[in-house]
Amino acid sequence: MSQIETFYDVMRRQGITRRSFMKYCSLTAAALGLGPAYVPKIAHAMETKPRTPVIWVHGLECTCCSESFIRSAHPLAKDVVLSMISLDYDDTLMAAAGHQAEAALEDTIEKYKGNYILAVEGNPPLNEDGMYCIVGGKPFVDQLRHAAKDAKAIISWGACASYGCVQAAAPNPTQATPVHKVITDKPIIKVPGCPPIAEVMTGVITYMLTFDRLPQLDRQGRPQMFYSQRIHDKCYRRPHFDAGQFVEAWDDENARKGYCLYKMGCKGPTTYNACSTVRWNEGVSFPIQSGHGCIGCSEDGFWDAGSFYDRVTDLTQFGVEANADRIGMATAGVVGAGVAAHAAASILVSAQRKAQSKKSQSEEA
């Protein structure tokens, strides 16, 4: 492995000054929510660690994860690709095609056995012998298994790889299957969302490179640093929720005042993601800020949880102290009590009743 340079070597050789390098390290620390004490640690890691090869494969998907990835502002996508990782195979961006592309894949697997990260965008369909997604004349699932075999770790980008996403919505005609149900003997980091936030994607990669370990994962396998709290917990419109001030119809006075979108079907109360804190596209906005409720795109099975405009009915409790694991373990039976105890109880209970009747309609349909 000695022929592989460290990050620092590469950055310096690419004309980046020591000063810029340190600035980069402190930005990285900030992006990861770490204090200044971590800056020298990150700098040290980058000075001594080799560039990690990444193989990025694509199954059934829409490429929104790749598109999101290149939107990253800190670090910039170009710096990730030129200076931080070695993206040796990615059929969306690589120059080579066909045999030469396949050779690049084989070469990377062979040369970096056990030392490369496999990033998976999309998922394998298992019906029709896997031939609903063909790469190099063979089922994508074969490529996935082959590339996974010698990977150090796997990143499941987005809702497709993590949970199945839209092509796995009922009745899942192709039997689109999330990565962890096909690969069971490797560490898998799920980075859900449709797509995930750009800086969350690069944050996860940077964390792994910097600390040389997987991030702390929750029970579902998501990095705790980005997915441990609900959008609702940190939503800037939360005070309006607590005060019982809701948007009642699109573009009404309350919408213009920026009231809570709960009644318009916002899934913020049941969605674990960093949208209300990191926000999107360099912090410009996030769905709720732009007037539409959260559709819950980082949650397992969100496509089959009723209409995006149905009110959330499975609110377990409202305190910010609830974490993903506890919510995940809570059963449907305890739903009522937590809601009733809340300040906005009466509004919510009636809302809940309506939404439940709507939901049963949608189940019949």
């Binding site: 004309g15 095609a97 066909g98 063909i134 419109r237 919408a255 213009r256 800020q289 209409s307 405009y309």
Partner: protein, 596 residues
């Protein structure tokens, strides 16, 4: 040797070349060609190699949710399916949208065109023309001079700037870890640029990568995120509140200023970098005018960007609508997506069955029953395909036809239609470009023409974006801040049964969604997307599709290195996730198999 009804001589006797995966596209695609002894392509076979089944998933769901599902057809042309979907639902239910919603939707759609065209050119297509390894041999001073000649208004043009980029590139290459450039075709004689042009274009590859994340912030402001911003049946979800209580949470002056500054950035980049690059690179390839395919004979555009809300008449659309057949530019036919005879899809060479051969179906009555099988002359096995048999079924893409004709769609199709119709902006752009490059009109019908049309369109869309921004501001100034019409939001106000069609011009071409609604739920949903048109396999009559036609008769420098194939296929900006998602309307679930 066979001659297709659309006039191509197919000869599959020569050596077969297989390219799978075709990279730098959205989704999964395979291409096979036969080359003769001179290395000239004499037969072309294009195959969509993925299938997701989204339409059956939509059945029984709330039509107001459909935009979010269909938006996930494609994350590259993100938003265009959502817009098409809300238009289809609004058409079915007779919902009109307010003026501001029309302006904001147009701004978002135009923003997508610009973003998509720039990312396509620099990050998916450029490496077919530009050799980043050759850029190492460039003289930074000469590169600076070149930059100042072709794009004198671009501020990043000093010799030092290019030297820095070259150094960064040099270290990258010297590290031995070539990453995305690994196994590229860097010594292939098909690359014609001098090192200085290679360095300039590679530098702009990096600049465009930085810029594209800025462009999409327009989507973030109006739709909350990008990729996959949020949309709304009846308008747009973002309220406008210029100076009332809570305006900091809505579209206000600060937000409008941000949109405006991004619009200006788009205009500047298009004028100072993108268009000049296309002219400069195109100048070195102006004798390589292959890849015309169907563009000179059969093109289709639905038109888009309505000046006024709820008016889709052809003369009110800024991007033109029309169909040209048999190469007759004198006659532009109007297009009616509702006419059951005009648009039909065929499946004789697709991995689906209609139960009887030779049948074509209009999308409102679309049926899709998958049938994966290889023809008798295919080589390999059903899970390890070596060579396909194009005489049988060979693609997950259907074959849509307009009045029986295979059509090309996309920026070049729009520009050919616009040129033929005498569209003022388009005509002056095209004539200006041809004059600058000293090329005849016929040069348009080529791979290079497709790539140039995209750049011209990006420039035009930049101006249109500004137009609709000004219109938005003017409407607000006049006292109208409405962004949504909720009269028919409640399903109880809907008719028992309804059907509608939504059409847009996606970056890649004409896009249509057809919906049938019954009892407040989706009864049937069909999409016919740009890459279904362009990437279509043969039809019953034997007409080849636009991708296939465009590859015909192209000489390859080295047949084992598919530079020319990639160059021409990429000029269409293929989007395979878009093209291959149709599914049986009966929704029958196929047999489950065990996870191995």
């Amino acid at each position: 040797m066979t001659v297709t009804p659309n006039g191509f001589d197919l000869d599959n006797s020569g050596r077969r070349i297989v390219v799978d995966p075709v990279t730098r596209i959205e989704g999964h695609m395979r291409c096979e060609v036969n080359v003769d002894d001179e290395g000239v392509i004499r037969n072309a076979v294009s195959t969509g190699t993925m299938w997701r089944g989204l339409e059956v998933i939509l059945k029984g769901r709330d039509p107001r949710d459909a935009w979010a599902f269909t938006e996930r057809i494609c994350g590259v042309c993100t938003g265009t399916h959502a817009l098409t979907s809300v238009r289809a639902v609004e058409d079915a239910l007779g919902i009109t949208i307010p003026e501001n919603a029309n302006s904001i939707r147009n701004i978002m759609q135009l923003n997508l065109q610009i973003h998509d065209h720039i990312v396509h050119f620099y990050h998916l297509h450029a490496l077919d023309w530009v050799n980043p390894v050759n850029a190492l041999r460039a003289d930074p001073k000469a590169t600076s001079e070149l930059q100042q000649t072709v794009g004198p208004n671009h501020p990043l043009s000093s010799p030092g700037y290019f030297r820095d980029v070259q150094n960064r590139l040099k270290k990258f290459v010297e590290s031995g870890q070539l990453g995305l450039f690994k196994n590229g075709y860097w010594d292939n004689p098909a690359y014609l640029l001098p090192p200085e042009a290679d360095l300039m274009a590679t530098t702009h590859y990096l600049e465009a990568l930085d810029l594209q994340k800025e462009i999409v912030k327009v989507h973030t402001i109006f739709g909350g995120k990008n990729p996959h911003p949020n949309w709304l049946v009846g308008g747009v979800p973002c309220p406008i509140n210029m100076d009332g209580v809570g305006s900091v949470g809505a579209i206000n002056m600060e937000r409008l200023n941000m949109v405006s500054s991004i619009i200006d950035k788009c205009i500047e980049f298009n004028r100072n970098v993108y268009l000049p690059d296309v002219v400069a690179i195109g100048g070195f390839y102006k004798n390589w005018l292959y890849g015309g395919g169907l563009s000179g004979q059969a093109v289709l555009a639905y038109g888009d960007i309505p000046e006024n809300p709820n008016d889709f008449s052809a003369e009110q659309l800024h991007l033109p609508r029309g169909a040209i057949i048999n190469g007759n530019l004198e006659e532009v036919h109007d297009v009616d997506q509702r006419d059951p005879e005009q648009i039909q899809e065929f499946v004789d060479h697709s991995w689906y069955t209609y139960g009887e051969p030779g049948k074509g179906l209009h999308p409102w009555d679309g049926v899709t029953d998958p049938q994966y099988e290889l023809g008798p002359n295919a080589k390999g096995t059903r899970t390890d395909i070596k060579e396909l048999d194009e005489a049988a079924k060979y693609s997950w893409i259907k074959a849509p036809r307009w009045n029986g004709h295979a059509m090309e769609v996309g920026p070049l199709a729009r520009y050919v239609v616009g040129y033929a119709k005498g569209h003022e902006d388009i005509k002056s752009q095209v004539e200006g470009l041809l004059r600058t490059m000293d090329l005849p009109v016929s040069a348009l019908f080529s791979t290079l023409g497709r790539t140039a049309a995209r750049a011209l369109e990006s420039e035009y869309c930049g101006r249109l974006q500004k137009h609709f921004f000004d219109k938005l501001v003017q409407t607000i100034k006049n006292g109208d801040s409405t962004t949504a019409n909720i009269e028919k939001w409640d399903p109880s106000t809907w008719p028992k049964e309804a059907k509608g069609v939504g059409a847009t011009e996606a970056p890649r071409g004409a896009l249509g969604h057809w919906i049938k609604i019954k009892d407040g739920r989706i009864e049937n949903y069909q999409c016919v997307v740009p890459t279904t048109w362009n990437g279509s396999p043969r039809d019953t009559a034997g007409n080849i599709g636009a991708f296939e036609a465009s590859l015909m008769n192209t000489p390859m420098e080295r047949p084992e290195e598919p530079v020319e194939i990639l160059r021409t296929l990429h000029s269409f900006d293929p989007c395979l996730a878009c093209s291959t998602h149709v599914m049986a309307p009966d929704g029958a679930e196929m047999a489950r198999v065990k996870v191995r």
